[in-house]
Every structure is written in C-alpha cells, then in structure tokens.
C-alpha cells in the first residue's frame, strides 16, 4: 500500500499485539503479588518492573533472593534467563539496525518476548517496509504491553499488601515457570536441553551458593546445542 502512513502503521502495531493484553495483566499482577509477599514494598516492586521489564528474570531473582543465594549468583542466573533478549536483539538487527541510535536504544529497552515475536513476523511478511515504518510498528506493538506491565505490577503489589499469609504462594513461582517452559518445547533439542538441565540440577543440588543452577544451565545448553548438531548431521546424511 503506497498510502500507508507512519500513524496507520503504529495503529496496526497496537492492534496486532492487543491479544497479549490478556497475558500481561495476570502475569504482571502475579509478579506484584509474589514480590510483596516476599517482603518488597510497593515502590520497590514497581521499580523492579520498570527497570528490568522481564518477567522470567524478575521471578528468578526473587526466588533466589528468598533462598538467600549470593548476590552475584542472583544476578548471573537472572541474566542467563534473559539471554534470549540478546537473541531477539540479533534477530531485530537486520530490520532496524539502520535506525537512529536513540530509536535503537529505546527499542532495545522495549525488547520483550511479545514485541520481538509480533514485529519480526510483520517485518518478514512485509519486506518493503521502510525503517521509519518498522520503528513506528515496533512502538505500536509495545504500546498496549509495557504500560500494562508497569500498571498491573502496581495493582498486584498494592493488593499483595493486604494478602493473607499462608496461602502457599511459595509455589506461585515454580508453577509460573513450569507454565512458561511448556510452550518452549518446540524441537527435540529443546526437550533434551530441559531434561539434562533438570537431572544435573537435582544431582548438583548440594553444591553451595546455588552454583548447581549455573552448572545445570550450561550443561543443558550444551546438550541442546549438541542435539541440534546431531539432528542436522542426520538430516544431511539422509538427503
């Protein structure tokens, strides 16, 4: 469409990402609730969500801090969970790498699972999009997502202040993670990576300072990478 304007592209971004509103609201509320139950104030919880905007990493940090893991282990483990953001950044680069630096910096801060998935799908569908159009679309996509992430973290934290203790909320984080893991099992390599990581983490549970998690994560990643290579070789031979 020759008449496509930056404004209509921005609005299309909003429409395309709006189904995620149903996911963001409960997820952000849950973080707010669990964080205040763990002893964080409403302000601390909200700051956490604004500074980091990464649900899985925030839940990881919360869990490990509750276990009194050393600060460095908390940081490294949570960043490891967030390493996929580097993957997203790499995937977005061919499309928006030529945009002005300030726009790329802002887009980087706003790179989350949903903005990556929705934007890259649209960029692939419409290769003729100009760089300003792509940026307008990207900012449209994050418009219904990021403000709700902040807002419902606040709502959850606010409600959490009145929430009674003894509601087995200790298990909210494991359940949330298990629910997030399931859709990640896209290939055999993903399943192998997860299974190996689980076995190693159980065997290494006795290692002090939660370092067993690091070991299990690295061994799991290697298992996933090797499975992928093995499958590629097998396919290569079959052809």
């Amino acid at each position: 469409m020759a008449t496509t304007t930056a404004k209509s592209t921005y609005l299309k971004g909003i429409v395309d990402s709006s189904p995620f509103i149903l996911v963001i609201i409960p997820f952000a509320s849950l973080f707010g609730l669990v964080a205040t139950e763990a002893g964080l104030s409403v302000i601390e919880t909200l700051t956490f969500s604004i500074v980091v905007i990464a649900g899985a990493a925030q839940f990881t940090a919360l869990q490990l801090m509750q276990e009194q893991a050393p600060t460095l282990v908390v940081i490294i483990s949570s960043l490891a969970v967030n390493l996929r953001m580097a993957m997203y950044s790499a995937a977005l680069t061919p499309y928006i790498g030529a945009a002005p630096l300030w726009q790329r910096a802002l887009a980087a801060y706003l790179t989350v699972d949903q903005s990556y998935v929705v934007s890259v799908a649209e960029y692939e569908r419409r290769p003729e999009m100009s760089i300003p159009m792509r940026m307008a679309y990207f900012f449209g996509v994050v418009t219904p997502i990021v403000p709700l992430w902040y807002g419902f973290t606040f709502v959850g934290a606010y409600l959490g202040a009145w929430f009674p203790d003894g509601w087995a909320l200790d298990f909210a984080i494991p359940i949330t993670f298990l629910a997030m893991i399931a859709p990640m099992f896209r290939t055999l390599a993903h399943v192998v990576a997860a299974l190996v990581a689980v076995v190693v983490s159980l065997l290494a549970a006795g290692i002090p300072y939660s370092l067993g998690l690091m070991v299990a994560g690295i061994v799991g990643m290697m298992a996933g990478a090797q499975t992928e290579l093995w499958q590629e070789r097998k396919r290569g031979r079959a052809e």
Binding site: V51, I53, A54, T60, Q63, A90, P174, I181, A216
Partner: protein, 108 residues
C-alpha cells in the same frame, strides 16, 4: 527476608545487564554476523535454566522444609501437562493453582 541492599544491587545490575543484552546487537554489533556455535547455545538458555531452577523446588519445597509433598508435586505435573497440551501459559498457571489449593484443602 530479602536484604534491602542486596535487592537494590540486584535491581540496578539486572536493569543495566538486561539493557545491555537487548542493545548488544541492535545497537553495537549492527549487521555483523554472529558465530554459529554461540547462537546455537544461546537458543537453549531459557529452556535449560528455568527447568533447572524449578526442579529442586518441586521435589524438595522450601515451605515443607525440603520434604517432598504430594499437593505441590501434583500441581507441578498438572501445570506442565496443561502447558504442553494447550500451549497456553495462563491456562497452565490456573490449572496448577487449582490443583495445589484443591489438594492442600483435601489433604490438609
């Protein structure tokens, strides 16, 4: 209880670190190519780290002092199963929560 100094160090470090991870390619690398072996490992970080984090808590929950407990174990299995079948994160969380509270009530 979470120590306040630790909390703020973690929030600030995660904020800077997460921004760096998001900016590293779009902002710094530009269009240069990444080594294959690195990308191949990065693909499996989340799917390895998250299960490794959860597994010990499912088998030995802190709330019970490390004693394996049927309600939590069942809730974990139901969550994973519903997640695998439906690919719907919220449905999986709700089924897990329902199983947990249902069993805690019945067994309690």
């Amino acid at each position: 209880m979470i120590d306040k100094t630790t909390l703020w160090i973690v929030i600030i470090a995660l904020g800077i670190g997460s921004f760096f991870l998001r900016f590293v390619f779009t902002g710094l690398v530009g269009s240069r190519a990444m080594p294959d072996w690195l990308l191949r490992h990065l693909r499996y970080t989340a799917v390895a780290i998250l299960p490794a984090l959860v597994a010990p808590q499912v088998i030995w929950p802190q709330a019970t002092g490390g004693e394996t407990e049927p309600a939590r174990l069942a809730a974990a299995c139901v969550t994973l199963l519903v997640g695998l079948l439906s690919k719907n994160v919220i449905a999986a969380i709700l089924s897990g929560a329902f199983t947990l509270y249902g069993l805690l009530y019945l067994l309690g």
